[in-house]
């Protein structure tokens, strides 16, 4: 099967840390500016109101002072200074009204708007905005208690002017404040940008270091990284370390494989040459038989090597599938029993403490199947024709983690305790003549390792070897 070509868009355009930071900061500053602007706007309005309310209040006092009762009636003598004081807000129009609490207008504009909530007696100034004469105007309402012959009465003064001067002052305060804020924000962004550049400088040094290296130079980076990227540098160094290890492994593997293949092929070639040199048909046939056997071993060796390479390769990718072990064992057994040589073998699967559907774990099914196949092959290959094989499935633990144990007992010859460590290594076989490539158990071992599990060899109650493959239920750590 051919893989589809990698999609071009699969590789996303790399994002810029600098731009992200800048965008984030600009957004932050903008948000802050908006909040501060609202505050500033309110402040400016209050400041303008307070300033000009003083004018209104002063004028109101001046006017109220000149309202006095006389025996002939009430005198309302608007002082010219009063309207001139209000007129200090030069471009604003001025309105006033003097009226009794009852509502009767004594002088001024009778139609001035009253404050929300209506007029209340009192000599404290009350300020409010109200629309009048096509504009919003600011008014002060203040009363004065007059004792008249008919009795006491509140005389109210309402004095107001348009908001031009206030709005101008508010806008002036606001724009000046805002200019300051914007200046601070811009400066802040400039400093932040400089700061980012400074902070990024070590990264550029590390990049230059890596770029400038020979491809084979895998020595750790000696940059003195800031704390924030220390982990990254550590990871890079770790990664390079693993590359070195992996490279060494690969090299030794290739050397091993080369040696094994050459040996096997040389043997095959030797047998064939011998056969070719034989004149006697019967002896030639025998030679060819042996050549054929040698070819079979070579094929098996090749398959095993490829299987090992595949398992090792797959081990890099995390197994993420949650799979049921029972069907996997079942298909493995089916497949195993299809080989004619397995006819006499007695196989049993013991999973008493694990009912169907409960042997679930996160694993790579392809690798597990390879492991099982190798275990079964191993048992069949090294044991007698009527070997008994018990596949066991049980629960266990690996360092407090829940795990499943796949065990394989056989009635074969077994492996002496002293040899057990070695057979897990590559190309160590107790039985070269029997077609042992010495790679089967090392495949199983690789599968165990890539799944965060472990492989153990022991004496079997059936008299042969017991192999235990423990795999954590929730995948590699």
């Amino acid at each position: 099967m051919t893989l589809p070509p990698p999609l071009p868009e699969a590789r996303a355009v790399p994002y810029s840390l600098r731009r992200r930071l800048t965008v984030g900061m600009v957004a932050g500053f903008l948000a802050l500016l908006v909040v501060l602007s609202i505050g500033l706007w309110t402040y400016a309005r209050n400041a303008a109101n307070q300033t000009y309310d003083l004018l209104l209040a002063g004028s109101a006092i001046a006017i109220l002072e000149r309202i006095s009762p006389t025996p002939d009636g009430l005198i309302v003598d608007i002082p010219s200074s009063a309207l001139e004081i209000v007129g200090l807000a030069k471009e604003d129009r001025v309105f006033y009204r003097v009226f009794r609490l009852s509502g009767r207008t004594l002088t001024g504009e009778p139609d001035l708007p009253l404050p929300p909530g209506g007029v209340r007696a009192g000599d404290q100034p009350r300020f409010f905005d109200a629309p009048y004469s096509r504009e919003t105007s600011r008014f002060v309402l203040q009363g004065k208690l007059i004792i008249e012959p008919t009795g006491p009465d509140w005389i109210m003064l309402q004095l107001g002017h348009t908001r031009l001067a206030r709005d101008t002052m508010q806008m002036d305060l606001f724009s000046k404040g805002l200019a300051g804020l914007v200046a601070i924000a811009v400066l802040g962004l400039v400093f932040m940008r400089l700061g980012i550049n400074r902070a990024m400088a070590p990264l550029a040094g590390i990049e230059a270091d890596i770029r400038g290296r020979e491809p084979s130079d895998m020595t750790p980076l000696d940059a003195k990284p800031p704390r924030e990227v220390e982990g990254l540098i550590g990871a890079i160094n770790d990664f390079m370390g693993r590359l070195v290890t992996s490279k060494e492994h690969a090299q030794s593997f290739i050397a091993d494989v080369a040696h094994q293949m050459r040996t096997s092929l040389a043997a095959l070639q030797g047998q064939l040459q011998l056969a070719a040199e034989q004149d006697e048909p019967e002896r030639m046939r025998q030679r060819l038989e042996r050549a054929s056997e040698q070819a079979t071993r070579t094929i098996r060796l090749t398959n095993q090597l490829l299987s090992h390479a595949m398992v090792t390769h797959r081990g890099i990718d995390e197994p993420v599938e949650k799979i049921d072990l029972m069907p996997l064992i079942r298909t493995s057994v089916e497949e195993f029993l299809r080989h004619p040589e397995t006819e006499g073998i007695d196989i049993a699967v013991l999973h008493d403490d694990l009912p169907a559907g409960s042997a679930l774990l996160v694993a790579d099914p392809v690798a597990l199947r390879e492991a099982l196949r190798n275990l079964l092959d191993n048992a069949a290959r090294h044991g007698p024709k009527d070997i008994r094989i018990d596949i066991g499935l049980s629960r266990t633990r690996i360092d407090e983690r829940e795990a499943l144990c796949i065990s394989l007992d056989d009635s074969g010859p077994g492996i002496p305790a002293a040899e057990r460590e070695k057979v897990l290594e590559r190309f160590y076989s107790l039985n070269r003549a029997g077609g042992g490539s010495g790679i089967g158990l090392s495949i199983v071992n690789a599968v165990a390792r890539s799944h965060g599990g472990r492989l153990a060899l022991a004496d079997s109650r059936l008299g042969g070897l017991r192999v235990e493959l423990d795999l954590p239920v929730d995948g590699p750590a």
Binding site: I78, E84, V98
Partner: protein
Amino acid sequence: MTLATLARTRLGALRRIRAAVLGAAALSLAAVGHARAETRLTIYSATDTSAMTEVIARFEATHPAVKVEYVEYNTSELYEAIASHSHLVDVVISSSMDLQAKLVNSGDAYAFRPPNADALPEWARWRGELYGFTWEPVVMVYNKAAFADRPLPQTRSELAGMIRDDPDFFRGRVGTYDIHLSGVGYLFATQDAQRGYQFSRVAESFGRARARTFCCTREVLDRVARGELVYGYNMIGSYTLGVVREDERIGYYLLDDYTLVMSRTAFIPETAPNKRAAVSFVNFLLSPEGQAAIATSPELIPLLPEATIASGHSGVPGTEGRSLLPIRLGTGLLTYLDRLKKEAFLADWSAAMQVDSASQ
């Protein structure tokens, strides 16, 4: 230009003016008949038509598409007409600065900015709506023959003192505005009242001398010329100057303590049908060209001194070095328009003058 009124308007002459306006409308319609598309610019003004003839002619010369309809009112009638919103008017001109200020304060004026706004003195403009375009000191006039061998009073308190000291000479021979009838007269009087205590002395002495009051500057000037009056108080300088130039019998001068300066003002009502033409007319009044045109009128003095100098006239001789007090446009002018304040002021004035209106 359509002459809406040929005669001076007086109190109670409103009906006559209306009739004249109708006639004017008919006339201008006839004019439209043979001209191309024209804008008719309606100006309501409390300024003599004759004083404005040259200005309007020059404006029409530079704006051929605009025909000016000039309607003359007196100041109070003009105020009533505009305040009632019953007329569609393009430009309102009046010498009564306080009434103009009140109209503007009520929000009826249209804001615009003349090209040379910054060249105008600050006291003569308000809110970008109300613009003064003349400069007219308030002067005293006297009969030269009567004062041939007596000194002229140089301050208001001297005037009051002289009247007190020589009541026979002054009795019935001092003239000033009837502030009940004349808006300008009321403005001058209230301005005086704000300047200090002397005014009450002056008013009191006027009353003692049985001073006579008149509606208009010219009435006083005529009588002073004839010798019927010897002294005229608070006369509009520009008119006076025009008369004095022609009449040897009258003299004018400025008092030492202070001299009020008033300005004729113009604004465009918010409801003006022809705002563009109106703006160009007011801009013209304030422009050097317009000011120069004003300078040609014997009865007006332009606001910008350059125009006065350029015109070859010397302005109002005798103003140099005097303490001139321009009347400021602004909310301060509204004080004496307060109903109660005005009633009280007029009552005080009448009491002081003990006027018998029979002098009219």
